[in-house]
């Protein structure tokens, strides 16, 4: 294969697949971003559950986290993908509605990815919560702050600094895990590469191109992480 044909395969417009790959990359970024927001929110709730003094809640969140940590992401994603439809239909049937509603693939992928993300994020949050020195908490309490004030004014602002490196790692994992959505035929980057490679029978070109785009996405994330960490460490770094 000569270079010219590679360029024409990856060209933009009707003849090449370059624009399709970029459209897929945009879906990948959206999928990762939405899953990040949902996963962070869910992760905070789970961390609350783990730190809660109420035993059953503790036990429940721990079980969930063990399940996610020991089960392949791929399996969780498929379970959610097929399971959500069933859940929706059962609810509809319970309400007496005959429904053939299908959960959109994007929503199913977001649900699966943020469930996975939240389990790991809750560990990071828990670690960050416990990393705030007790001396500070005692000092804040001694000055007459309520428990709520201690949490919002002392703990939370500092948790961010402790949690950032861990969350940044999880973001990288999440970004790469979005590729699993290709298997449920969501038109993200890898799926676009698959469609292109199967219709042209040139898989090497398209999978390498997809890999290169993922590499750009992770490299950009890496730079952003570096900047954020410098910002979060301001005033603390030596």
């Amino acid at each position: 294969m000569n270079n010219e044909s590679v360029f024409s395969l990856l060209a933009f417009g009707d003849t090449g697949w370059g624009d399709d790959l970029l459209a897929g990359a945009w879906i990948t970024v959206q999928l990762a971003a939405v899953s990040l927001v949902c996963g962070l929110a869910l992760g905070l709730l789970l961390a609350g559950g783990r730190l809660s003094p109420w035993r059953p809640l503790n036990w429940l969140t721990n079980t969930y986290i063990i399940f996610i940590r020991g089960t392949p992401e791929f399996l969780v994603l498929l379970l959610v993908f097929f399971g959500l439809d069933l859940v929706v239909q059962q609810i509809a049937a319970g309400l007496g509605i005959q429904s053939s509603f299908e959960v959109p693939k994007f929503a199913a992928a977001v649900a699966g990815l943020s469930l996975i993300f939240s389990a790991y994020a809750s560990e990071v949050f828990r670690g960050a919560y416990l990393a705030v020195p007790t001396g500070q908490i005692e000092a804040a309490t001694a000055t007459g702050m309520s428990a709520g004030q201690v949490f919002w004014r002392v703990r939370l602002p500092q948790m961010w600094r402790f949690a950032l490196p861990g969350l940044a790692n999880l973001w990288m994992v999440l970004l790469k895990d979005t590729s699993l959505a290709a298997v449920i035929a969501l038109d993200e980057l890898l799926r676009q590469a698959k469609v292109a490679s199967e219709s042209t029978l040139q898989p090497l070109v398209f999978y390498l191109a997809a890999g290169a785009i993922y590499l750009v996405l992770t490299a950009v994330s890496d730079i952003a992480r570096h900047r954020l960490e410098l910002g979060a460490r301001r005033g603390y770094a030596r």
């Binding site: 063990i66 399940f67 940590r69 020991g70 089960t71 392949p72 992401e73 791929f74 399996l75 969780v76 498929l78 379970l79 097929f82 399971g83 069933l86 790469k176 895990d177 979005t178 590729s179 699993l180 290709a182 298997v183 890898l190 590469a193 698959k194 490679s197 029978l201 040139q202 898989p203 090497l204 999978y207 390498l208 997809a210 890999g211 993922y214 590499l215 992770t218 490299a219």
Partner: protein, 257 residues
């Protein structure tokens, strides 16, 4: 060697029959019928995992030596290798090697074709290369966390590079890195499920195939349960190794005076 293989094959059959037989009275029909298939897959996953983690570790040692070397001809390629394999999804790596290289066929790949023809071998290769990059980074962390004075002291004693590596640096780096390495093994186990997309009938491949016949979601839960059992066994094994290589005086918390 052949004895070992035969004993292992017999063990697999006995284990599968024994466990499926024992579970039969207390399991739903769906699981009982699928049980032998689940265990077929379980052992394929286990084999892929053990082989790729051992081979990956060996490659990681070589890569990390190149990565921390003072020679740029070694450290730059090693850095690039780690960067590419950690910066792209495993699924893309699998499909590049299986569908991408595989599309060159027998003519393009010549003597390598019998290897690339089989999803199992391509899966093993990809998992090995992938985990090697992560483990190399973990080991690098271990090496760079060593107090620099130790290395200077070893140099002052007249130790050669290989002596320093074997006697001072690696034994400590591995101890520091072991918990992170244990995490990586579990992550590798989970990631190995992706080989089911390149026709390998591992635990995930079997689970998906059984599911596609019944469309019963509990199949996925049975598959998940087996993965959890495997994760439990691995965690246990990793802890045992950790306990064996711990030097008591190194880790026991010193009581405050």
């Amino acid at each position: 060697m052949f004895d070992f293989v035969r004993v292992y094959l017999n063990f697999k059959i006995a284990a599968s029959d024994g466990i499926c037989g024992a579970l039969a009275p207390i399991s739903p029909d769906l699981f009982v019928n699928a049980c032998p298939r689940f265990f077929d897959g379980f052992f394929v996953t286990l084999e892929l995992l053990l082989l790729s983690s051992v081979l990956g570790f060996l490659i990681a040692v070589a890569v990390v030596l190149a990565r921390v070397s003072s020679s740029r001809f070694l450290s730059i390629p090693a850095h690039a290798y780690i960067y590419v394999f950690r910066g792209t999804p495993l699924l893309v790596q699998l499909w590049v090697l299986y569908y991408g290289l595989g599309s060159m066929g027998a003519e393009g790949l010549g003597p390598l074709w019998p290897f690339f023809k089989e999803g199992w071998w391509v899966g093993l290769l990809t998992l090995t290369l992938n985990t090697a990059a992560y483990v190399a980074e973990i080991l690098r962390g271990g090496i760079q966390n060593l107090p620099h004075g130790q290395i200077e002291a070893a140099e002052a004693c007249g130790m050669t590079w290989s002596q320093r590596m074997r006697r001072i640096i690696f034994p400590q780096a591995i101890r520091i890195a072991w918990p992170a390495y244990g995490n990586e093994v579990i992550l590798l186990m989970k990631a190995s499920a992706l080989v089911s997309t390149i026709t390998v009938m591992d635990l995930m491949g079997q689970t998906r195939t059984i599911f596609s016949r019944s469309y019963d979601l509990s199949i996925f839960l049975y598959g998940a349960a087996l993965y959890l059992v495997l994760a439990g066994l691995l965690t246990l094994g990793l802890r045992l190794v950790e306990a064996r290589m711990t030097i008591p005086s190194f880790t026991q918390p010193k009581s405050p005076r």
